[in-house]
Amino acid sequence: MVENHGWTESLVKENFEPLSPQTLPSLLARVDEEQSYVAYQRAGRVLQAFETGIPKEGGAAKQGVRVALLGSSNIDPFAAYVRVETHRHGLTATCFVASYERYHRELLDPNSELNAFQPEIVFLDLEVASLVPGAARYGLRDGGVVAILAKLDDLVNAFRAHGTALIVVSNFVNTNARPYAIVKSPEDAAYVELNRRLATHFKSGSNVIVLDVDGLAGYHGRGRSCDGKLRYLAGMKWSESFLPVLARSYAAVIMAARRPTYKCLVVDLDNTLWGGVVGEVGGEGIVLGPNPPGLMYMDFQSAILRLYDRGILLAISSKNNPDDALGVIRGHPHMILREEHFASIQIGWEPKPEQLRRIAKDLNIGTESLVFVDDDAVERAQVRHFLPEVYTVELPKDPSRYAHVISTMTEFEQLAMTVEDLRRNAMYVEQQRRDSFRQSTGSFEEFLCGLEMVVEIGVNDAEDIERAALLTQKTNQFNLTTRRYSQAQIREMMTAPLTRVYTLRVRDVFGDSGLTGVAIIKKQKRTWIIDTFLLSCRVIGKELERVFLGEILDDARRADAEAVEGLYVPTAKNGLVEKFYLQQGFEVGNVEKGTWVFPLSRFSREREPWLEIKRQ
């Protein structure tokens, strides 16, 4: 049953509720004010009725996402919450809902309505009592943990046989725990064990993630998360106060799955990182220190440092005299963020949109990867106007709320944390050293030799699935076809007989850049077709594309192929590689289709003297 209780159409027809898009702002304002069940249902109803046609602030109709919500309690009313919280991020959710025990059939039966709905994301919010026989009466017991994990495997595997959607499994909240327990019960221990094992149960690359709803309920208060009222009134598991919190977490997952990730936090300085204007009060006069109000700014800086530790790039955009501002950053005893934490620093008198463009250029990322934080509402309005693609944070007036805003923002959430994420900031520092080395060496060849690069080429390596999929999803510039693939699709291409997934890793004297290149080959008779060829922008400009392509051509020749065919699909961002195949010696193929051909009879390989190539 696609969520529709038979009343939506008649409701629009009879028009007894003002169900027009114009009512939405006031309904959303009521949601903000009340956070109530009723307010969410009303706003959700309008969003559902007009789900394809609501323009985003006068612009084009918004993008949609197909979301399935499966729960072992009544979760039908929760769809309205998910609609509202997803709408806030500019995305329209079309929801499929299955409550109570229907999830078994929907997941197991290939002809189920869930499969017909073709969801992109499936959320499973199941209860222990529903998954293990007897648990409803006797609670979670020894053996229950294993039984639940096995049951989840059965459900996920059955669905996987016919669906590729991302599956999001909620972990389990122990609602039976005695709040005043001095000695924990065996059931308490079983819940801890269950969530601990569940957290690492699904392998990376399986396209299943575990949502820490127990942690979220802990943040909200477990006692307040399930209070019995909606359980007895409507068969719902969660309380009225917890439903909005849970929906925000679902929206964070939906957004992380759907949009390219934000990569960099750009911060203002005066009255943002510290209190006061350094140009007026001097370095000693600013508000920053271990006691309030200076503590508010230190806490804010700590929250930003935690983003840095997660691999988010930091940058400064400030209208200031550089000497004044840098003096504080380098010398103030209570600064937590120092020069080394910032990948790009723009301090001057240019307008902020210009500073943000420079930061993006500096870091070789698009402005749509930036998040902007500034206390000044006029600056924020200017950035919103000139760079609407930048996510501009609405910072509250009260600096005691700043740290909370950073720690609760969902824009930097990702479905998985890769080793590259954790190393990203170090990599940018290494890149800066490479750049200055480039400037100090004479010829390009000397520069390349001095790098002492080691390149590793992988083919169909299952360990690379996650990172390879991520690169297809977020690489825009050096990307010949810009085809986006999920982990499941990459996995499939690695195992299929007529496709090969190549990966490129590179390291040099300055550091390890990790997996930074992906190519996908489809074999068609005696032609190898390059479906995908991309390099991360961090490694552009070192002739690695020639090396990578050369290895593929060499493989094709050895596999007795006659020709290799390349394709260039122009986008707004990949003009850089328009002439790539021409530069690599390919001949024009089909001009209309944008194909290029390399006859392998002509192939001869000169090994690049300035690097070492390792094959698995």
Binding site: W7, S10, S36, Y37, V38, Q41, K229, L233, A234, E240
Partner: protein, 77 residues
């Protein structure tokens, strides 16, 4: 305790808000209002609770399925 007239007026307003109904009688019930399904009933209950500041016990709330019943319960609280 507000007067019966107060309660009548508030309930009329609530029905206009929740169901878009301009007129209600004692007999108004899920049988006469097609959109009064179990989900909308919860909205009705929660709206009455918010407006009147009273809280129903869940079983009472589920069973009061007509304007007559709702008025009877409200007057008895």
């Amino acid at each position: 305790m507000k007067s019966d007239r107060d309660i009548d007026g508030k309930l009329r307003e609530i029905f206009r808000e929740v169901f878009g109904l301009e007129q209600i009688t004692d007999e108004t019930s899920p049988e006469t209002v097609p959109h009064w399904d179990s989900l909308r009933h919860i909205e009705l209950i929660m709206t009455i609770e918010r407006v009147t500041g009273k809280e129903f016990s869940p079983m009472v709330a589920i069973e009061m399925r007509s304007v007559r019943e709702i008025l009877r319960v409200l007057r008895s609280m």
